[in-house]
């Protein structure tokens, strides 16, 4: 019964059996949604519409790539929406203040971008350090920073709206509205973030450690892994991803207010979970998160295009899909 058996080169049948079919459910859902959409409205399957959907999914998608690291590592970050709002407001105020001085408008935007990326790293590091060094539950820490960032942006805006100087808007506008090789810039950014994230998660030591820690933190610690450092870094990555999303978001409306980024954290978590990542951590895929983010904005798009269901029910459909996705994946995680 228990004789050692050498592993031969896997046959095709064995490979087929080893395909993790259950992990492919998000992709199947996406395909289904595209089929439904194209049947319901002729304009759905046009490149304009699809790029529109992808562009909209870029914000949540980029944030969710960072969220994938946090959640696989056994954590959660509720502060990302507020953080995005705060970073947007701070960025606009800084750029407005710098404009008109000796620095060219392009220079001002570049400084703003640099500042946002740096601040995102710091904000993520603050979350991460409070969680790992302060030994406080991620849920509590990020619930706290959710409130802090949200109130800071309200304070900066004095309860109203922070608007970007019009001259700067003209310079910054192409970052959201421009395209390269026919593909909108935000879609490029989403793709690059996703590819880098996938490489980091699936092909590096760091990614393996994140999964090990999410799977069992004690085992990771006894395996001489720097658990606190790795976990902190997942929040830093999350902060950086939020900052990248902000860099793309600010030129879209050119303003920020207390209602910027409301509920983004839940959409980002939803994208991660629809993508097949276990909420308890330990396993997951970046490509699943990408599919999840696209699905979320695709639902809104299909509802907008067709009048079968009121677009006000967007949240209901999204909610059903989140619950359904987890239900379908339960077989894999239940054991």
């Amino acid at each position: 019964m228990s004789t050692p058996e050498t592993v031969a080169a896997p046959s095709w049948r064995a490979r087929l059996r080893r395909v993790p079919w259950q992990q492919l459910t998000p992709l199947a859902g996406l395909v289904l949604l595209v089929i439904v959409g194209s049947l319901m409205h002729p304009a759905f399957l046009t490149s304009t519409n699809l790029f529109n959907v992808l562009t909209r999914s870029a914000f949540i998608g980029i944030i969710a790539v960072g969220g994938t690291f946090v959640i696989i590592g056994g954590g959660i970050d509720l502060s990302v929406g507020s953080m995005a709002a705060f970073l947007s407001g701070a960025m606009i105020l800084l750029m407005n203040a710098l404009y008109g001085g000796t620095i060219s408008p392009v220079g001002v935007v570049l400084i703003g971008v640099g500042l946002v990326l740096g601040s995102g790293l710091l904000a993520g590091a603050a979350n991460g350090l409070a969680i790992t060094r302060g030994r406080i539950e991620p849920f509590i820490v990020t619930l706290g920073t959710l409130g802090i960032f949200r109130s800071l942006v309200t304070y900066l805006a004095d309860g109203g709206t922070i608007s970007l100087n019009f001259a700067l808007r003209g310079v910054y506008r192409p970052v959201f509205y421009g395209s390269f090789l026919g593909v909108p810039i935000p879609v490029w950014a989403f793709a690059v973030v996703a590819v880098l994230g996938a490489i980091l998660l699936h092909r590096t030591r760091f990614g393996r450690y994140v999964r090990a820690i999410g799977s069992n933190q004690e085992v990771a610690r006894y395996a001489a892994i720097r658990v606190a450092r790795v976990r902190t870094l997942t929040y830093v990555i999350q902060g950086l991803c939020v900052a990248i999303a902000v860099v793309l978001y600010v030129p879209r409306l050119g303003s920020a207010s207390a209602s910027t980024g409301i509920l983004w954290e839940l959409e980002a978590i939803a994208a991660v979970i629809i993508g097949g990542t276990a909420l308890k951590g330990g396993s997951g895929h970046i490509w699943g998160t990408v599919v999840g983010a696209i699905m979320l904005s695709l639902i809104g798009n299909v509802l907008n295009l067709t009048s079968a269901i009121s677009e006000y029910l967007n949240g209901t459909v999204q909610g059903l899909i989140i619950i359904g996705a987890v239900f379908l994946q339960r077989g894999r995680q239940g054991r």
Binding site: M1, S2, T3, P4, E5, T6, V7, R18, I199, H202, R203, T204, R205, G207, R208, Y209, R211, A212, S215, N216, E218, V219, A220, R221, Y222, A223, A224, I225, R226, G282, S283
Partner: protein
């Protein structure tokens, strides 16, 4: 013993998927007897027990109760019939109190509310008969493992029990607790209760059991009266071959062998105070003591796994390991005693587990799956891991194979000081011997080995010197040659205590 059996299994077979783990096994349990099941890991002992107590359904054969065939659709049905299994993995709710656990699901009621007073009194009485001093209002989370085990036993005997199935009950018990358990077993059998008893500890079986059924690879080898067998004969029938010497030869440590690891005046707050010891290359230093003496904590403290202060020297160089990674970089490795919670990612495959601690060798900067797979295949061969397929989750392996994977993971870091904490806990005799001989190979390579173990025979069989701990302090450092169990126990229980050496240069006994 002429009674008719209470419970028997006839031709029981069980397969999990394509793998048959039990093949046409007959077994019967008579009232008032202790019937032991022995066999190597994976021989089918636990499966047989679970078939008899309703946790699994047989694929063939039948369970017979009082002469009539029965089917227990689940464990509740078996328990209703008086057949209770005490699990190897404890089955208590950590956040409930002792009393709430004992009566979970069958709380006594009064006026429509749970009668806590009655439950508490009944639980306190039960624990008193078990001579376990645990407040019934304490949460199980706050108990030691052995206390929790006693609560589990109390829970089992609080029902109308006719057949009590115990799976490795003494694994986590101290010597005294084991004695208490055996007293209880004797009282239960005197009342006509039948005990089905799985254990790896053959000496225990010689002490407590009346009959023994030996299993090997899912087949029954035979049922014997315990008096008719010696432990050696039992072990031989379990493994199906003569067990040559259990331990490898113990080569003398050369007088000029350098000291590899030296600990001086180490305090681990709450656990260990003022511990000093040294181990040389090519030497096995045994660490003996009772459960809770601070043996594990001493080394976890030294290796940066828990807060500690004191001086540590590696190869004569003062070191300060704040994190296990620091110790790893200094080529010191620690095998945890808690394989399932701290040693293995049970839900991950063997490949990811085996390379986890030495990933920097396989990822520069990108992980190299082929190299990892080769490392796994090498480890499987070197440590004789017996698995049908390599792409299974670590949690699917038997205890012995799991331990080999953890050991392989450790050795991939190429340590020259290896600290093994209870390396053979819950492991069958054949695998134990493999691990002992592996220690012998390490010595030949000049590795220094620290062996923390509650099994005195293996400490005496392997160690050149033995450090004995009692209540957080080292009570003696003894020469392994000619050492006997009684002497070690005298130090372990605190009856004997040597004054701490003035300096490490003059330990009480030289090798």
């Amino acid at each position: 013993m002429a009674h008719e059996p209470i419970l028997s299994g006839i031709g029981l077979s069980k397969s999990f998927g394509p793998i048959e783990v039990l093949h046409a096994v007959d077994v019967d349990v008579r009232p008032g007897e202790v019937h032991a099941l022995v066999g190597e890991n994976g021989a089918g002992k636990s499966t047989l027990m679970k078939l008899l107590s309703g946790y699994h359904q047989p694929n063939a054969g039948e369970v017979v109760l009082d002469g009539r065939p029965v089917r227990f659709p689940d464990s509740n049905a078996a328990e209703a019939a008086g057949i209770v299994l005490i699990h190897q993995e404890l089955n208590l709710v950590p956040d409930l109190t002792v009393e709430e656990n004992v009566f979970l699901g069958r709380e006594p009621h009064r006026f429509g509310l749970v009668d806590r007073g009655a439950a508490r009194r009944a639980t306190a009485e039960l624990l008193a008969t078990l001579r376990t001093e645990v407040p019934v209002t304490r949460r199980v989370r706050d108990l030691s493992v052995s206390q929790a085990q006693m609560v589990e036993i109390a829970k089992a005997v609080s029902r109308e029990v006719r057949v009590l199935c115990m799976d490795e009950p003494t694994d986590v018990l101290t010597g005294r607790e084991t004695e208490v358990l055996f007293d209880l077993v004797r009282r239960l059998t005197a009342d006509g209760v039948a005990i089905l008893y799985v254990s790896h500890k053959l000496d225990e079986i010689m002490t407590i059991a009346d009959r023994v059924t030996i299993l090997r690879d899912g087949h029954k080898i035979g049922t014997f009266d315990v008096g008719d067998l010696t432990p050696a004969e039992m072990a031989r029938r379990m493994v199906g071959r003569e067990l040559a010497d259990m331990y490898p030869p113990k080569p003398a440590v050369p007088d000029d062998a350098p000291v590899a690891l030296e600990i001086e005046g180490l305090d681990v707050p709450g656990f260990v105070h003022g511990a000093s010891l040294r181990v040389r290359r090519g030497e096995v230093l045994g660490i003996a003591g009772l459960v809770g003496a601070g043996r594990t904590e001493l080394f976890e403290g030294a290796l940066g796994l828990r807060p500690a202060h004191g001086s540590v020297r590696k190869d004569g160089r003062p070191v300060r390991w704040r994190h296990p990674e620091d110790a790893k970089l200094d080529r010191v490795a620690y095998l945890t005693e808690d394989r399932k919670a701290k040693g293995l990612l049970l839900g991950k495959n063997l490949r990811e587990n085996v390379v986890l601690q030495s990933l920097e060798r396989f990822a520069r900067p990108f992980v190299h799956l082929r190299a990892e797979q080769q490392a796994l295949e090498g480890a499987v061969e070197e440590f004789d891991v017996r698995v049908a397929r390599l792409d299974v989750e670590a949690g699917a392996l038997s205890g012995g194979n799991q331990q080999k994977i953890v050991l392989a993971k450790l050795m991939l870091t190429e340590p020259d000081v290896v600290i093994l904490d209870e390396p053979t806990r819950g492991i069958d005799v054949g695998t134990k011997r493999q691990i002992y001989f592996y220690v012998g190979e390490l010595l030949a390579k000049g590795v220094a080995v620290v062996l923390i173990s509650s099994e005195l025979p293996e400490v005496l069989g392997l160690a050149h010197r033995v450090v004995v701990m009692h209540d957080g302090a080292i009570t003696g450092t003894l020469d392994g040659a000619g050492l006997d169990e009684e002497t070690v126990m005298a130090y372990a229980t605190g009856l004997r205590r040597d004054p701490p050496p003035a300096t490490l240069e003059s330990p009480r006994v030289h090798t």
